[in-house]
């Protein structure tokens, strides 16, 4: 579910980042208030835990393996606000040090996995646990929370992908970023998450929770024992609806002429870029007429090609010589 850079437009990334800032501020404040000082390192250790959790491959029916995200699990074990910080840090390390998930898309990734997943998961868990008093209620809560939590996060990611072609097009009407509309992105994301990722998440969350409860029951986060107020429902609704708010925000952020925006609105649902693109006949060859790069003096084009050629040769040379030297480099699969 890690969105790489360039799938989302920079303005979407900015909106998602801006949406996360109050959440992060609130999380830091809540953690400072509620988490005793001696437990602060736990956030880092929690982040390391959530990072490593993604390394565990769980066997799933059909012979393949998949890994869990564990956002709901962390929220249930540590509380939702610390979980938010922990997952954020884990995502930051993945983006900055492992190139997994985009730098610009960091806000969007955090929104889906560090905010939506733990909070939806936690509040559903809490809601069910307080309604169903028996021991089963707890586990039903965990199952529902972790399953719905990860699927909500996937839905948010799908919506973020899906609104890109609606909002961001070039003059020829072709999408600038992720080209698939909601009708494609939502089913594509949801089928895999409802069927596989969600199930893996549930299995792992329940199994780990049961283990910790058996071995060391005092460690699980209790939380304030209050009735779920309607405000929680409002928060959950907001979380679910807020990506849709981007539709409005996106046009405000836009770098497009008024007539283009009109196009987007008047086009309504029939934003089929595909026939449009075919009609306008986007011509790839026009980009490189006679192997020179368009819009650049020939000399610059030659220099650029020469630089690229030299760099590629050096890289190939280095790789070949490294492979000859007892293949130490091959191990880092």
């Amino acid at each position: 579910m890690h969105i790489p850079d360039n799938y989302l437009s920079p303005s979407t990334c900015a909106v998602m980042g801006a949406a996360m800032i109050p959440v992060w501020v609130m999380a830091v404040k809540k953690v400072k208030e509620n988490v005793p000082k001696e437990r602060i390192p736990l956030l880092g250790v929690g982040a390391a835990f959530s990072f490593l959790l993604m390394m565990f491959n769980v066997p799933i029916p059909g012979g393949t393996t998949a890994h869990a995200v564990g956002a709901a699990l962390l929220a249930i074990l540590l509380g939702p606000w610390p979980a938010c910080i922990s997952v954020t840090i884990a995502l930051l390390i993945q983006a900055l040090l492992f190139g997994d998930g985009g730098i610009l898309a960091f806000g969007a990734n955090c929104f889906n996995m560090a905010f939506v997943a733990p909070f939806v998961g936690y509040f559903i868990y809490k809601f069910i646990k307080e309604r169903v008093k028996s021991g089963k209620g707890e586990y039903i809560g965990i199952i529902a929370g972790s399953y719905i939590g990860i699927n909500m996060a996937a839905l948010c990611a799908a919506i973020e992908f899906g609104i890109q072609p609606l909002l961001f097009k070039n003059a020829a009407g072709l999408p600038l970023y992720s080209p698939y509309p909601l009708s494609v992105s939502v089913p594509a994301m949801m089928v895999s998450h409802l069927a596989i990722a969600g199930v893996v998440e549930v299995i792992f969350t329940v199994a780990i929770y049961a283990f910790i409860k058996r071995v060391s029951p005092g460690m699980i986060y209790e939380g304030a024992k209050q009735k779920i107020k309607p405000i929680y429902a409002a928060i959950v609704a907001l979380i679910i609806l807020s990506p849709l708010g981007l539709l409005a925000a996106g046009t405000a952020w836009g770098e497009w002429g008024a007539d283009e925006i009109k196009n987007v609105i008047s086009g309504g649902k029939s934003l089929g870029f595909i026939p449009e693109g075919m009609k306008n006949g986007f011509n790839f060859n026009a980009l490189f007429p006679d192997y020179a790069i368009k819009g650049v003096p020939d000399i610059v084009g030659y220099i650029l090609s020469a630089l690229a050629g030299a760099a590629i040769l050096i890289i190939i040379f280095k790789i070949v010589s490294a492979l000859k030297k007892g293949k130490p480099a091959k191990i880092q699969a």
Binding site: I40, A47, M55, I85, F282, G295, A322
Partner: protein, 272 residues
């Protein structure tokens, strides 16, 4: 010792062949943990930052580079950016080049496959623009992570007014990924070694490993805090560092100025 001292059963040939069992998921988990740990260990072996560039500059310009790349609609700029990255790449060590290219090509091929249907319908823009853009962004981040020590990167974050608690947590996280990673690696090895023949409890043991990891991490966190408090930690987190402007920094800034110029020039912003 004579042959008599050896009990008879030791001298007999045994042909016990354990029933084969599926343990791909353990192997996969072990492999992903190992590659992670070796990545971190390689990082910590770096004594200094590779090009001697101030980490704050490399972080700022890498982020700026990715923003320019993402905003740009000029194919020429995207090509230039990729050439620049190839040039930087060829200054690195071969093993770094291989790892970086593996990731970048992996992501680029994935993007290409994802976008292939649009190309079949005649939209070549997405596939020709987004694929090289994704390739360049991933390469840029990986070059940053390979050429700069991680504690320099976290140190650089302090320059961007990121709250102390985030940097503290980030630092602790990187350290504990190694410790907990090694810890769970050992548990996975134990699970693999002890599962001779068919073992139906293997799947359950996996959640036990993760659960033990959580308990262990909680204990470690408390011990860490006690140790930090003993050494006078009050919750503030400061970085004392002398800011030195080196020759490498100057060159790096000039190179990046050229990239920004390319972005403006190829983007056609000068002609308007």
């Amino acid at each position: 010792m004579t042959e008599k001292d050896i009990p008879q059963w030791l001298l007999e040939n045994e042909n016990y062949i354990p029933k084969s069992d599926k343990d791909t998921f353990i192997n996969k988990s072990i492999l992903s943990l190992l590659s992670l740990l070796s990545h971190i260990q390689r990082q910590s072996r770096h004594k200094t930052d590779l090009f001697g560039i101030n980490a704050a500059f490399s972080v700022i310009f890498t982020i700026l580079f990715i923003i320019l790349l993402s905003v740009s609609r000029s194919m020429v700029f995207v090509i230039t950016a990729n050439i620049y990255l190839l040039l930087v790449l060829c200054l690195l060590k071969a093993e770094d080049i291989i790892t970086i290219l593996k990731t970048s090509f992996g992501v680029a091929v994935f993007t290409f496959i994802i976008l292939l249907p649009t190309a079949l319908y005649g939209n070549f823009y997405s596939i020709t623009m987004i694929t090289p853009k994704v390739f360049a962004s991933v390469t840029a981040v990986n070059i940053l992570s390979r050429s700069t020590r991680w504690n320099s990167i976290t140190g650089a974050l302090k320059t961007f007014f990121i709250p102390d608690i985030f940097i503290l947590v980030l630092d602790i996280t990187i350290m504990y990924i190694t410790m907990l990673g090694e810890f769970s690696l050992n548990m996975l090895y134990a699970l693999k070694l002890r599962s001779v023949g068919r073992n139906k409890n293997k799947r359950n043991s996996l959640s036990g490993i993760a659960g033990t990891m959580f308990i262990k991490s909680k204990e470690m966190a408390e011990e860490t805090y006690a140790a930090m408090e003993c050494r006078g930690f009050t919750g503030d987190y400061r970085i004392y560092r002398k800011f030195k402007f080196s020759f490498a920094d100057a060159i790096y800034i000039i190179v990046n100025a050229v990239i920004i110029f390319c972005f403006i020039y190829f983007g056609g912003y000068l002609r308007k």
